[in-house]
Each structure stands twice: as C-alpha cells, then as structure tokens.
C-alpha cells in the first residue's frame, strides 16, 4: 500500500510550528482562516514528520494556503494542482500530499484533472474550498453557484446549472467522499483526520464563506435558527436523524428517500442506517442537494463521510510494476540497452 511514513510517537511539532513567517492575506472574516487553523491543529497529531508533508494548490483565494503552512509547498497554476500532486505522489509515495483547491479551480478550469485524480485514486487528500463564487477575480459566479445567481458577470442571474461536487466525485469513482464546513471546527477536524487515514484520494468538500463576494451562502447550514432543520450529519452505522430535537429522520422507500417525523410513530429502527460502503445509498445521499433558499419541502444538506471504499492506489500499481520488472529482469544494464540486439562491426 501507499503508506505515508509515520512516526507514531509524540508529535514532533505543534500547530505553532506550522505557521510561516508570511502574513496571511485573506480578507478579514474569510472562512479560509478557520480551515487553515483546523488543518494546523490536526496535522501535528497525525504522526507524519513535518518534512514529509507537501501542500500543493492551484490558483484562487484558497490556493494561497501553502504559503501559510510551514511544510513543503507548491502554489502551481490554475486548475492543475491535481496533476502536479499526481506526479509527486507517483515518484514519492511516502510523502503526505495535500491538495488545496476551490470550486473554480477544481470544478471549472481543472474539472478534467479533478475527475482523473479521483479515478486513478492517488493517495492524496483533496480539500476543495467551495464558496460558490470567484473571489480572487472579484465576484463572478462559479460552477457551484446556484441558478439565478446575480453576480458581476451575471447581472440578470446565472443560467448555468451548478455542479453537485459530491455526486460528481462519486461519478468519477472517488473512493472517499465527504463534506464539512468552515464554521464547524470540530466536525472539520474529524473529517480531516478521516481523510488522512483513508488510502486513496480523499475528497473533502468544505463549505467556505466568502464574506466579501458571497456572504452568507451557507448561513442556512450554520445559523443556529436554521441549522438543525437544514443539515444532516451522517455517521457510519447510525440512522439519518435531524431536526430541532433530532425528531426527524430519513427512511428509504425502495430507492426513494422519505422524510419522516419521529414524533409520529416512526422509530429510529425504521430509518435509513448510514453505511459508508454502500455506493448506491451514497449516490442517493449525494443527491440531497435541493436549494434551501427556494423554500418548500426539501431534504436537509448532508455532512460527513458519504462514501468510502478500498481500491488500489495508482502509485502502488506503478511501483509494483517497477518492482516486478526488477525482480524478473534484474536492474537494467545500460550497456546492454545501448547495444541492442543487432550490431555489426566496422574494422
């Protein structure tokens, strides 16, 4: 397996050691600050030597992240971080590689690399900061902005249908698909730990508030008043329960999810029990994607690990082929190679 080198003893560094000498230049109040903080808190616990950690990003607000992490890092070009990370991981499987990206970076300009990373399943942690807007270019709609979104580039409302990142990742055969948010540090830290533990591409969509160009995009999921009814935190082996007093649940009627009221005679035993390894159910769960702002009957937005499976990582297959060739043929002899098969001599 593509095991990242770990030293299980006491952490050799602390969150403070992950702070660089560079001023963080995100807008005050940006959700990125929280994500940075949670990552800096979790990483020392993971038992990975700091010098073996690499953060690779594309372009966009989120992609400045590596400059603020005192590890190895590369701020690459727009949309391509997945490919840079793939090349690094293919040749240095023992490194812990984290990819930082945004909704524009990974789902618009880098959509191709995103799906190919997932299908190849390099052992990389992919954190996608989704703020449903283009921040660094000052406020155009993004591929995750909802239909009708009024922005600088869509003064009459966006006519683009948005991507559903979790469903897209599942469709690309991702082996770890999770969602969290900047304003729930405890949950986010937990998901980061799980992402790191997974062998394969761990896709974590993180709802991140852009307080300048798209303030409050996820308020309905974070506000005390609405959160309980609009969010559904899934845990493996536990029933799908939500609501002000955990009084609502989701039941499966065949393949059709139904919201039921636990106060009205439905017991938790009737509910959909979350099974992270069930691809079909993960597909249904990822489709809980109604736009809550439209009101009316709708499903709560799920958070947590939707799906996980064990599948061979690309780098393991690649290195196994090299090892098999070495075992079978021995280390390549350059002189033999240069000579080839058919030669003639001129005297």
């Amino acid at each position: 397996m593509s095991e990242v080198t770990t030293t299980p003893a006491q952490p050799s560094f602390t969150a403070k050691d992950l702070v660089t000498d560079q001023d963080v230049r995100w807008c005050p109040g940006c959700g990125d600050y929280s994500i940075l903080k949670q990552a800096q808190t979790v990483i020392p616990e993971l038992g990975i030597p700091r010098e073996n950690i690499v953060f690779i990003s594309g372009i966009g607000c989120s992609s400045r992240f590596p400059y603020y992490m005192e590890t190895y890092g590369m701020h690459s070009i727009h949309g391509r971080a997945a490919a840079f990370a793939s090349g690094l991981k293919a040749t240095r499987p023992e490194l812990s590689v984290w990819m930082i990206s945004g909704d524009g970076d990974s789902l618009s300009i880098g959509g191709n690399h995103f799906i190919h990373l997932l299908r190849r399943n390099f052992n990389i942690n992919l954190l996608l900061f989704n703020n449903e807007i283009y921040g660094l270019t000052k406020g155009q709609y993004s591929p995750t902005s909802e239909e009708g979104k009024v922005t600088k580039s869509t003064p009459f409302g966006s006519i683009d249908h948005p991507f559903n990142p979790a469903a897209l990742a599942l469709g690309a055969d991702g082996t770890f698909i999770a969602r969290s948010m900047d304003r729930d540090p405890v949950h986010l830290k937990d998901i980061l730990r799980r992402a790191n533990a997974h062998q394969g591409t761990s896709f974590v969509e993180i709802y991140q508030n852009c307080n300048v160009f798209n303030d409050g995009a996820f308020e309905i999921f974070t506000d005390k008043e609405t959160k309980k009814l609009e969010t559904l935190f899934v845990e493996n082996g536990k029933p799908l329960v939500f609501g002000a007093n955990n009084d609502k649940g989701v039941k499966l009627d065949g393949f059709k999810p139904v919201i039921v009221n636990l106060a009205e005679g439905h017991s938790a035993n009737d509910l959909w029990i979350h099974d992270e390894t069930d691809r079909v159910k993960a597909g249904i769960l990822s489709r809980f994607f109604d736009n809550p702002k439209k009101g009316g009957d709708h499903f709560p937005r799920p958070f947590g690990v939707f799906y996980t499976e064990q599948r061979a990582c690309y780098e393991d297959g690649l290195n196994a082929q090299v090892a098999a060739a070495l075992a079978q043929k021995g280390e390549g002899d350059l002189d033999k190679l240069l000579k080839g098969r058919d030669v003639w001599e001129i005297h």
Binding site: T20, D21, Q22, P49, R50, E51, N52, I53, V54, I56, P66, Y67, M69, E70, T71, Y72, G73, M74, H75, S76, I77, R80, A82, A83, F84, A85, S86, G87, L88, K89, A90, T91, R92, E94, L95, N112, H113, H116, L318, Q321, V322, A324, A325, L326, Q328, K329, E331, G332, L334, D335, L337, L338, K339, G340, D342, V343, W344, E345, I346, H347
Partner: protein
C-alpha cells in the same frame, strides 16, 4: 539462369503502397539487413495521418525511402533509383520522385480497373501499357497471383495470404541486391512465434520472391553495394524517437535520478512513450496523463520531489503546455520538454515534418520566460542531444526544450553507440543544509543556479510558486524593482549557460570564405551532402550546424562574420534567420521549404549555385 553483377556506390529505393500493404515493415526490414551488412544508411518514412485511409486511393499511399551505400550517407536522398509500387495510386503519387532511367517494380494486380479508378486514372491511360513509362525500366510482377499460388495449400484465408505479399517484394529485392534472407527470417520467427501458420507462409513467400529473381528471364543484372568505410567501431541501427528514449534512460542512470516521463499521446512523439514504457527495470516510470497540461504538470510535480521529470509532445501539445512551462521557469526546477515538431499550425500535418516551432520554443510563453533550447540534427544525434538537455536542466535548475522533428524521429541511421563508461556523469546536489539563518530557496551559486531541496529533507521546508518571488527568500513579492531584477536574473542564468557549452565549429569547409550555410535540426544531412558536393566542384562554401539555439555558443557571431554570405535553410517560413539577423545584424539569406518534406540535397545545391554563380 546466368546473371551479371554490377557494383553500385549507393542506391535509393522507395517502397510505396497502400497503408495496409506493409510498406513500412518492408522498408525497415531492408534497412536492417543493409545496416547489418555494413552499408551506411539513411531512411525517410512518409505515411498518411489516417491509419487506414480508403484503400487504393492517393490519400492512402504510404511510403518508405531508403538510401544505402558504400560511401558516407547523410540523407535519405533526393530522387530514387528504384520505385516499388504496390498499386496505381502509389505510382501516381511517387513517379515524379523517380530518376530518369530509374527502375519501377510494379505489382500488376494493383493496376486492375478498380485500382485505376481509385487512383483517378482512366483505363485508356493504363500507365503500365500506354508507353508513358518508356524512359524507365519497368519490372512487372503479379505479386498477388504468385503469393496466392504459393500458398494455396497453406490453409490460410485469402485475406491472410494477401497480407504476406510484401514479403515477396522484399525477397525479390534481396535477390536483386545480393542480400541474405537470414535477418528477416529471424525477425519473422520472433514476430510470429505464436502463429506458426503465418510464420511459415511469410518465410515461404520471402523465399519465393528471392527465387523469382533467380528464375525469371527478364532481369539480367544483380547489384552489389559494398559495406561503407565508416569510422571503425560497433554499430546498430537507430531511429530518432528510440534514441531520444535511450538518451533519457542514460541520463537518468548517469544522474542517479528516477526517470518520470509524463506525456499525452501525439504524433509523431508517441513512440518515445512506447519505448520508455518497456524499461521499468531501469526504474523508468511512465505516466499517460489525461491531457497535455496534466502531462507537464505531473512532470514538474515529480521534479519538485527530486525525480528527473520529462515530457514529450508535438507543436499543438507544446502550445497547451505553455503556461506550465512558464511556471517551471519561475520554479527553477529541472524539467526536459521534448517537441517532436510536425507541420502546423493547429493540427496541421500530423505525420509530416517541419521546423516551424522554433519561435514557439524561444518565445512562446507569456511574460519574459527564457528557457534553453537545443536541437538534434539526425536520428542518432537525438541520443547525445537529449542527454545534454538533461545535463543543462539539472546543472542550471531550469526547464530545457529539446527539439526534434518528424523526419528524424522516424528516420533511421547507423549509430556507433557509446559505452556507458564513456558518458559523463551528471552531478546532482540535493540541498541538505540551510544556506542562511533560514533556508533560502532562491539563493544562487556561481552559475546563478538555485538549490534543489526536496520534500523529506528536514529543516528545509519551503514554498515555491508562480507568483513573482523575492530574490533569495523566494517569498511572494510584488515589488517593481525586484521584479525587474528577477527577470534579468532568470535571463542571465540562461544566457550564462553559453560559458558551459562547446564553441560553435565548422562542420564542413573552412573558417573563412564566401558562403556559410548555417543549419539547425534535421536539415543537417541534406546540407552536408550538398556542401560536400559543391566543394568538390570548387565552390567556396562551408557548413556550420547549431545545436544550441538558446543560448547560442559564445563565438557564433565570429563564425558568421567570417563569411561574405550566410544562408539559412529551414523547413519553415524563416525563423532562425530572424533570430540571427536580430542578434548579429547580418543580412542572412533565408531559404525556406514548407511542404511537410525535408530538403533535398539537390535543392540546397541549386541555392548554393544561385548565390555563388555557376
């Protein structure tokens, strides 16, 4: 039957047929046999972009030209002595390339009414019967009929039987040029080791073609082309893309780095991937990326981790890689970028050759993004040149562009291969210690090269990226003076490479004189042949060939100023000539051919005569 034997100094054969007729295979087989015999050789495959264009049509004609001789051969030659045509379309497409008095070997079955119609020839104009070929020697053979007759009892179907008819032609030519069948039989035995029926059929037909020569009464003369007097040593046959692959493996071995080759399939570069993918036991890791951009990005990622990162493509792919190449310039990481050029722009002429990406190589990126550029001059030269590209990349921590083209990528020549002990070591110094109070990723050495600190090295954690960086610290900097300083710094680093490469030499001729032909890339053979011939006739003409296109060798100016005229032949609309005029302020003469075909020596000779007078 008694035959006479003539000795020839050199022969040019062109094999032409339908893309499905196996002409490339026939050509390569004859080439290998000629090479093993000790002839000097040069080849030029010329095939359509479509894998199987409509059968029998002009669009579907596939050709393979071979020049072999007992003297030094520098190019596949101009017009051919022998034209082998499997059908009417092949004749129509190639006839103008046959020398007056040359020989046509025609498969008569390929001239039936259907084939004539497909080649747009009226039946009344049957070329084998209307006397239009009277100035040539025509050998008509019903190859199809004889192949079928020889294999009636083979148990094979007609389709399979017909597929071996190229072996008849090959056998006949082996007879004509007094060659042994041994090498091709060995090749067939390996190729069809699991298909004994097909193997036996092919060998039988190969021998049948040979015996046909012996028994037929129409051909009276056989030819001998003696081995060439080449520099003593051990030789093998080598194609350009293959040499490029071997050069990369050698460079990886000599630098002790893991070779990571990330690429996306594109004609005519894909064979480099096919070749490298075989050598896993050399630690080679090949990665077929999802697109051209991912290919170069993966390579830069691998280089960041301390591997030898290499990508290869052709013009359209290089265009897509432009932004990432600029990033590599900023990151100052060693990366080798191979462009096997083809006809452009856009999709252009995928299977035809051109040198039209020089400006793209030198200037085709946003911002001031200098990058060393070097070009190979012949198939075997790809080995040494790509090895040198790797050395420059590592020694100077920079991406390097290596230019090849479709002509040398698929062409072949004898190669006096080196011993690994004779190849220079490429020194790699990964940083292990801090170079200041903090680690300074952009603190430079005397060559202006920055240190290579790879992940996993304790205490040297650092960040790099595409935003302008502060001198030494590498931190983001938007400071205007720093930006200008860094632009100059990157340019000076690349220009400084001129102090670490060989001086420009004269390939053929004198250091002073009337006319210098300055070439680059695959025009080498045609220029050399023409200059040797012209000098033999008394013309004051010399030839210099530039491998290093950025930076130029330090003395290039002096070399040029020693001549009254400088002629620059290029397979493009005039690119190097612009750079030379700009840099050295001389009225260099452009000579351009943009037909997707290499120069003929004859074309260069005519130009020499027009400049220097008859």
């Amino acid at each position: 039957m008694e035959h006479t034997t003539d000795t020839l100094e050199r022969v040019i054969i062109k094999f032409a047929g339908d893309s499905g007729d196996g002409m490339q295979l026939t050509g390569t087989q004859f080439t290998n046999t000629a090479a093993l015999f000790g002839n000097d050789i040069s080849t030029f495959p010329d095939f359509p972009a479509e894998i199987r264009a409509p059968q029998g049509t002009l669009a579907g004609v596939s050709g393979y030209q071979l020049h072999f001789g007992s003297t030094n051969i520098y190019s596949p030659g101009d017009k051919c002595d022998v034209l082998v045509v499997m059908n009417a379309a092949a004749l129509k497409a190639n006839l103008r390339q046959l020398k007056p008095g040359g020989t046509i070997i025609a498969n008569t079955e390929g001239f039936d009414s259907k084939n004539l119609r497909l080649a747009n020839i009226a039946e009344t104009d049957h070329p084998l019967e209307n006397g239009s070929l009277d100035k040539f020697r025509v050998i008509k053979i019903d190859v199809t009929k004889m192949t079928r007759a020889a294999l009636t009892d083979s148990g094979l179907g007609v389709k399979e039987i017909d597929r071996s008819k190229n072996m008849f032609v090959l056998g006949f030519l082996y007879w004509m040029y007094n060659r042994s069948l041994e090498n091709s039989i060995r090749f067939l035995e390996e190729k069809f080791s699991k298909k004994p029926d097909i193997l036996n059929a092919n060998i039988k037909i190969l021998k049948a073609g040979f015996s046909y020569g012996d028994t037929t009464e129409t051909i009276m003369t056989r030819y001998v082309v003696n081995p060439a007097k080449m520099i003593p040593g051990v030789y093998r046959n080598m194609m350009g893309n293959q040499a490029t692959a071997l050069g990369l493996i050698a460079a990886a071995k000599k630098s002790g780095l893991q070779l990571f080759f990330g690429t996306y399939p594109i004609t005519p570069a894909s064979d480099i991937l096919h070749e490298l993918a075989k050598y896993k036991n050399f630690g080679v890791r090949t990665f077929q990326a999802e697109d051209e951009i991912a290919a170069i990005a993966s390579v830069i990622g691998a280089s960041f981790g301390g591997a030898l990162g290499v990508t290869a493509s052709s013009g359209p792919g290089i265009a897509l890689k432009g932004e990432a190449m600029g990033l590599a310039v900023m990151l100052e990481l060693p990366v080798v970028i191979i462009n096997v050029q083809r006809g452009g722009p856009s999709t252009g002429l995928p299977t035809k050759t051109e040198q039209s990406d020089l400006m793209q190589a030198l200037y085709g990126r946003n911002g001031e993004a200098p990058m060393p550029v070097i070009a190979a001059s012949s198939p075997a030269d790809c080995f040494e040149t790509v090895f040198e590209a790797t050395r420059l990349a590592i020694e100077f921590m920079t991406p390097v562009l290596f230019l090849s083209d479709g002509y040398i990528a698929n062409g072949a020549e004898p190669w006096r291969f080196p011993q690994s002990a004779d190849l220079k070591e490429i020194e790699v110094k990964f940083a292990t210690e801090k170079n200041g109070e903090k680690y300074l990723p952009y603190k430079r050495d005397e060559k202006l090269s920055r240190p290579w600190a790879i992940p996993g090295t304790k205490g040297l954690e650092h960040r790099i990226g595409g935003i302008e960086k502060q001198h030494e610290t590498g931190n983001i900097s938007y400071d205007s003076e720093n930006h200008e300083f860094m632009v100059h710094m990157r340019e000076n680093k690349v220009e400084g490479i001129a102090n670490h490469i060989p001086l420009q030499t004269i390939d053929t001729g004198t250091e002073k004189g009337k006319l210098l032909i300055l070439g680059w890339g695959s025009t080498y053979g045609a220029i050399k042949t023409a200059v040797l011939e012209a000098r033999a006739k008394g013309y004051d003409v010399s030839h210099a060939h530039v491998r290093y296109l950025k930076p130029f060798p330090k003395n290039l100016g002096e070399v040029l100023y020693n001549f009254e005229h400088v002629l620059i032949p290029e397979m493009n609309n005039g690119q190097l000539v612009k750079v030379i005029r700009d840099k050295f302020m001389i009225p260099a003469i452009a000579y351009n051919k943009i037909q997707g075909l290499p120069f003929n020596a004859g074309e260069i000779s005519e130009k020499i005569e027009s400049i220097l007078g008859k």
